[in-house]
Amino acid sequence: MSTTAQRSTLPASVPGIASALVWGAGQLINRQAGKAVFFFVFFAGAIGWEMSSGNYYAGMDFTARSNGGFFVKGLWGLFTLGSQPRRMTINGLTEGDNSIVLMANGLIALLTLGLFAVMWIWSIRDAVRYRTKLNLGEDRERSRDYFRRLWDGAFAYIVLSPGLVLIVFMSVLPVLFGILVAFTDYNRDNLPPKNLVSWVGFDNFATILSVPAWTGTFFGVLVWTFVWAIFATASTYAFGFLQAVLLSSRRVKFPRVWRSIFLLPWAVPAIVSALVFRSMFNGQFGPISQFLVDIGLTDERIYWFTDPSMPNLARGVALLINLWLGFPFFMALIGGVLTNIPATYYEAARIDGAGPVHQLRYITLPVVHRTVAPLLILAFVSNFNNFGVIYFLTEGGPDNAGYRFAGSTDLLITWLFKLTLDNRLYNIGAVMSLVIFVIVGTISVWNLNRSKAIREL
């Protein structure tokens, strides 16, 4: 009985603190050797990684920069972005810090530490909880039983965890990197490896706002980007819907042949199509303008993409070409949904005396819309950032004298590209992509939460 007495006198915080200091120590106090080993392996791994990658012999000469291991050097790099600039000599670059490499390594170290922290918190919580249960008089549990219980209860999460680690390093890391660049002076005046980049806080945001000419361009381009995204999505959806309904009609002969033909625009890479359209719609030398003049429909050539006095013509043609490129996707998608609508719905409707229009309006449309709604939002987002079509079709033209470095059909993403990458203003580019991210992210999250298909997932 002495063990019971000892158990009841030990407060739950003791193993908790022990596990916080040395992972698994609390479990050992709780007499769960298997668990203790499990947590200690992670602890030893983290410490061992740091020790073996750093130089801890240095003693008093220890500095994070030259002796730190993976984690210490990484975090040091992330906070300082380097302290030793490189110089150019006749022998080449001297040794020194590369801020961008330091930032990337620092982020990797930080995220790895984050994953370790999950294990650390788990080990503390586990030690405290188990001791609390014991203190309440519950039975002991062997480590093996615990892990079995865990395996059964959290199977899905355990299987998903390798994927989570991958997501952290392949998706979260680049996004964080992009966000961090917005707070640095990483641009053409501070290009690594020769120069060090440093943190500048919100200076870049202030810079953008301090150039009024750009604000005007920004809002002009933003409005057109919205118009483009809405019209491009709506038109491809509507036309794809129409085609799918027509193809599913029994009266259409050879539906497979038609479907294959309509899918062709989608099969050709969009960039290639855009370039072909670009030369076809060349106002002066393109065949379409010439044809219209030759048959006498127009007296003069029509400058589709290059007439600054008619920006809406270029915008309209760009939307039409995007329709041609984009409708097959929705046609194929909706065609699939249509085959899944039970024929009994339509039968019942016919018995009730509903005509084809009513069947379309009250059966087909709601069923399709419910399934396709999340994809509509994704299509809106991809049209919002539809770099390829605009950049290769019009290059942003026709030129707009009121804009800075943007034309009348430039989307935010193409303007951003021209302004920042050509000029190597990476920090300003990061700020602007943050803005786009916020806009697009807000709209998507709000809309996806409202769509039934996602809510019922």
Partner: protein, 433 residues
Amino acid sequence: MRSKGALAVAAAAALTLAACGGPAEEEEAGSDIEWDAEAQQYVMEEEITSGEASLKVWFEEEHLAEAVIAAFNEEFPDVNVEYELVAKVDAVDKMALAGEAGNGADVYMTVYDRLATAIEDGTAAPLGEYQNVLSERMSETFTGVVSQDGTMYAVPTTTESIALMYNETLLEELTGSPEPAATWEEIVDLAEDYNDPAANQWTIRFLSGEIYYAYSVLSSLGWQAYPHGDIDDPGFDEATLTEGLEYYAGLRDIWNVPSADATWETIEEAFAQGETPYVITGPWSFSTFDPGAEENGFTYGVTTLPAVEGGEPAGSLAGMHVTAVSGYTEYPAAARVFANFMASDAGAAAVYEATGQIPALNEDLLSGIEGIGDDPHVAGIVAQSQQADLLPQVPQYFWETGNTMIVDVWDQLSSVEDAQTKTVDGYAELHGL
């Protein structure tokens, strides 16, 4: 007691791990490379001359790489040179990544307008003593483009300047003489008869929306970009530019096409088909024009760009392909020897033979290269190159703001004064960032 024992084991394990060693301290940079004043070249590293290690170079074209390396090995038979194919426009960006990773080239070729970045970020290293060697072999126009603060960062390798190319056969038919026009006024006169916009028949074609092409007109009327060689002052507010732009806008009458519609294909193709008497382009078009001329039965000539009547000779902006030594190279001496070789007699001959591009050397040295003296087309480009203007290392936004200004004027988006004001502001905004 058991738990205490286990704790001790754990602590011991942690200490054992801590005792594992870490990486050594950084190495100090070696001493400077040695200059052999007699041979006028750097003394190459032993690993290279013994053939133990090889030199890595980046070229865009395989035949150029093989020709240059073969010529180099004739002079230095023991040196191993490997090459990889990297596009010139991508080389600088790629170098910043590959150099850091340790698998970059020792020597690479790039385009002159990418060099500013390479100097800024340290991927192009100074040439050291070769600066004096090269200065004697080429004009200041060329060395100036690759220099910053008086230090040369790359070896000018080939030069290209746009020039006026004319269809001799067609001109003889139209004017009775195969001689090209010397002024824009002569071209305008011819255009009055020859132009037929409905059939897309034009007297002259050129890329009208780029300052690189418009510059010849602007300079003929006295404007010079960066008049003081100072990067703060591109000279966009000069009165001579106003005059030049107004004249340039007037040229829209004889080449009445929106700038964005006047694309490369349409310009080159029409000349190659023998439909256009004049075209403004560079030596890169020869490969299209030569077969075109043969097929369509005409001969063409190359001459200096037309001036404005009463104006100065038309200038142009010297374009160049340059060879740079990587800032990451482990063999700085050998890399410089190779880079300098590109501008030596043997190297230049190899470059010319492989690509047909004109080596960036003084005219008297050029004539020593086999074949180059007999090529009348090359002679035209060289003649125009003599009138090319010296530009300091210009930032990318010079082209961006300048091109916007030219487009605004050419497409009549705004008045010349407004276009100039906008350009001055735009340049200042980008410059100030």
